[in-house]
Amino acid sequence: MHITDNPKDKISTVQAIVFISSLTVGAAIITLPRSAARSVNTPDVWASILFGGLIAIIPSIILVKLSQRFPGKTCFQFNRIITGKFLGWILSFLMIAYYTLLAGFEGRMMVELVRVYLLPRTPIEVALMAFLWAGTYLTVSGINPIARAFEFYFPIVIFIFFSVLFLGLQRFELDNLRPLFGQGFKPVLRGIMTTFLTYAGFETMMILTAFMKEPWKAVKVVVIGIGISIAFYVSLSVVVVGVLTVEEIKTLAWPTIALVNSIEYPGGFVENFQVFFLIVWIFAIYTTFVSSHYIACLGLGQISNKAFNSFVYALIPIIYIVALAPQNLEEVFQLGDYIGYFGVFMGGIVPVILLFIAIIRREGCAEKQGEK
């Protein structure tokens, strides 16, 4: 049972880091400030986001440890070894369902924003189709091209994202972030559950570790990868709250776009920064979409012992249906929350149980993986 037919399907450590942060930085760029502000309700939104991310590192290290026991095997393969064929099949199926839902959700979010800000009259079905095909084009070629494409996009995303935030600073007011922990830490803790969900995506390490050239560096990968997305989300929340205030964020459907909207470049030769930001955001969504689509296909391939390529097209209709299932924006956001919980379950709880069973049943090689 080898994972791939092609020994070239190995990714470097940097690629793995980029993969993880591209996956965790997705649709939430646009909505996280609001959902966090609604649950925190004080200007300490950033703290919730920071702690949520730090907490997300703990289960991700656990699941890396788990997958390191089974070198070269993805979770679709090793859960069978740990729990037996039947349970393993169910777990794999849940994983696949999770990634399919995630892909559908990301597609829908992309389309929703495009509908509001770019193409108001284009039927969302058409925009969605175009997006799905563009994603499929990359997905079908496998992990290596995907990782390389991400590596290429990522610096662009970082550059535009942070320059937009930097431009936002001119309307930044420190008083909007104060009082610091004015209502104590309770609101911060209350927000952590919401913000933790945003980091869902780290469970991908259960699959990614198998593809790494240097799997013993997987812990480093996941810590840096999540660290980058923490940096993204925390700086975003600081700027958005500093510019717009918590009270207003709670009222806005797309708080981040509102931030971009209020940027004024002195001299005014560029008036509409929205366009730049939407490009970045579509990149971010695209990467999340492609990776979840790919992993869902990979899972299907591995449980049926076929090449993943054969499932790429088969999944498209399902993703399409998932994406169009929510009837309105509220339902889209709700779907996002459910997917978040699902992700936390798959990435936070299941690996702990699996690792526990694996240790008891002495499955996999617990021997020193790191030193080679």
Binding site: V126, D175, P179, G182, T245, E247, E248, N261, S262
Partner: protein
């Protein structure tokens, strides 16, 4: 065999191209720029609804009259100023085209969106709000309507930018949009430039945009918006504008054709066009946070004082009489550093406004003035300080006692220093604020006196 394979590949390719062509040719969101009408400004007025269920004369007693007054709702009138592109770009000056570069349309309705829809029926081009620059609300509308409700459609609209300048007009808002400026093409652009160049201008609050309003209103905070109005001294003997009183009245009543939609082109109607510089942007309208409507005006010096307290605009000038000779001295503010320090002692809130002001002595009518002497500067500093203190005290008194609004952000500072205490009182903060003692810790420095120090 091989040929077949090639042929089938070609067939697939052609098939793909045809399918692509189907998708590429139809672009749903094609918006030809020459089919759009760029809206540069909106003016929101209100008037009595003429179509009330009661008929005139049917009201017999006082109670019914009161009932009628309650039922009688004000209707919204929105005036849209759109750009007439050909007249703007013009190119060759002195050409035959005397077409006005802008046109105004007024429409009434009960909701803003309804009115926006009506514009679509009137205009040959689709109105586009991406380049909207100013929204003027008449003081009558600002006092009557809950602004958060009134602006809801505009805040929701995906096209409206957040940096639209918000203005409150004395008298009708639509007539402000109707004064053809002499220095710019489009009245709305002139207004924007007028408001935006806050540098070295006194009597204007810090730029208040739609985004700022949205922020303040979401938090339920009171705030100020820039006032625009007709100059008070209009029609005087030396006024370059030279319009008679009747014309001025006409101007203010220009949109009296109530109850129906009408279109006019200010270029041809001519009454207001070419009138030039008769609008001033000075002072501010105070919007109360809890009710979201306007409660009063601040004049030039009160606006300056408010700016100094918030520290957002470090501008303004102070004119005062020298104590002995009562000659006029003018002090121009360059820098203001302000700290609002809240304090709670034995359950009683008090504030200290710690203000350090630096500025220039720009004008004096005192023949004996000698700015090269230390004691003269010291003396002037004291005089200026007295006047600044008087203005600040007057303004705070007005904000606390008369308007009962905390537009200067005292509450924010209190919430930063005493967040838990703030939680208990925030709902009736403005009531509490009106009785809170505020101490002024003021220091005024003269750092400069320009090119001439003395007259002899």
């Amino acid at each position: 065999m091989r040929k077949n394979k090639v042929r089938s590949k070609v067939t697939i390719l052609v098939g793909l191209l045809i399918t692509l062509a189907v998708f590429l040719s139809g672009c749903w969101d094609r918006r030809e720029i020459e089919e759009l009408s760029m809206v540069a400004g909106l003016a929101i007025d209100c008037e009595e609804n003429t179509s009330t269920p009661y008929k005139e004369g049917s009201i017999s007693n006082k109670e019914e009259q009161m009932e009628f007054d309650k039922e009688k709702q004000l209707q919204i009138i929105v005036t849209q100023q759109y750009i007439v592109p050909k007249a703007v770009s013009g190119g060759e000056k002195g050409g035959t085209s005397q077409k006005s570069p802008y046109a105004n349309v007024s429409v009434d309705g009960n909701s803003i969106y309804e009115i926006m829809q009506k514009f679509e029926n009137i205009n040959s081009r689709t109105p586009n709000y991406e380049h909207l620059r100013v929204i003027i609300i008449s003081d009558k509308a600002a006092r009557y309507f809950n602004l958060y409700k009134l602006l809801n459609a505009i805040l929701r609209h995906p096209e409206t930018p957040r940096n639209i300048d918000m203005l409150v007009s004395e008298r009708k808002a639509c007539s402000i949009l109707d004064i053809a400026p002499r220095s710019e093409d489009i009245p709305a652009f002139k207004l924007m430039m007028l408001v935006r160049k806050t540098k070295s201008k006194s009597g204007t609050p810090s730029v208040s945009t739609l985004g700022d309003m949205s922020k303040a209103m979401a938090a339920g905070k009171s705030f100020v918006i820039q006032r625009v109005g007709f100059r008070q001294d209009i029609g005087s003997e030396y006024d370059t504008v030279k319009i008679s009183d009747s014309n001025y009245n006409n101007l203010a009543n220009i949109n009296k054709t109530s109850g129906m939609n009408f279109i006019y082109d200010s270029g041809t109607k001519g009454l207001a066009s070419g009138m030039g510089d008769i609008i001033e942007a000075v002072g501010a309208a105070v919007i109360k946070g809890q009710t979201y409507n306007m409660t009063g005006w601040l004049n030039r010096s009160e606006t300056d004082a408010l700016n100094w307290i918030t520290g957002k605009v470090e501008e303004g000038s102070v004119e005062f009489k020298e104590s002995k000779s009562s000659e006029t001295i003018v002090y121009d503010v360059d820098r203001v550093k302000t700290k609002i320090k809240p304090e709670i002692l034995e359950g009683k809130i008090s504030f200290t406004v710690d203000m350090k002001m630096e500025g220039t002595l720009v004008e004096d009518w005192l023949m004996t003035a000698d700015a090269f002497k230390e004691e003269f500067i010291k003396d002037m500093e004291m005089n200026a300080e007295k006047e600044v203190r008087r203005i600040l005290e007057k303004t705070l008194e007005k904000l606390q006692k008369e308007l009962k609004t905390d537009v200067a952000g005292f509450g924010k500072q209190l919430s930063i220093k005493y967040p838990r205490y703030w939680n208990d009182i925030k709902d009736n903060w403005e009531e509490i604020f009106s009785d809170v003692p505020i101490n002024l810790d003021l220091k005024v420095y003269i750092r400069d006196f320009g090119r001439q120090g003395s007259k002899k």
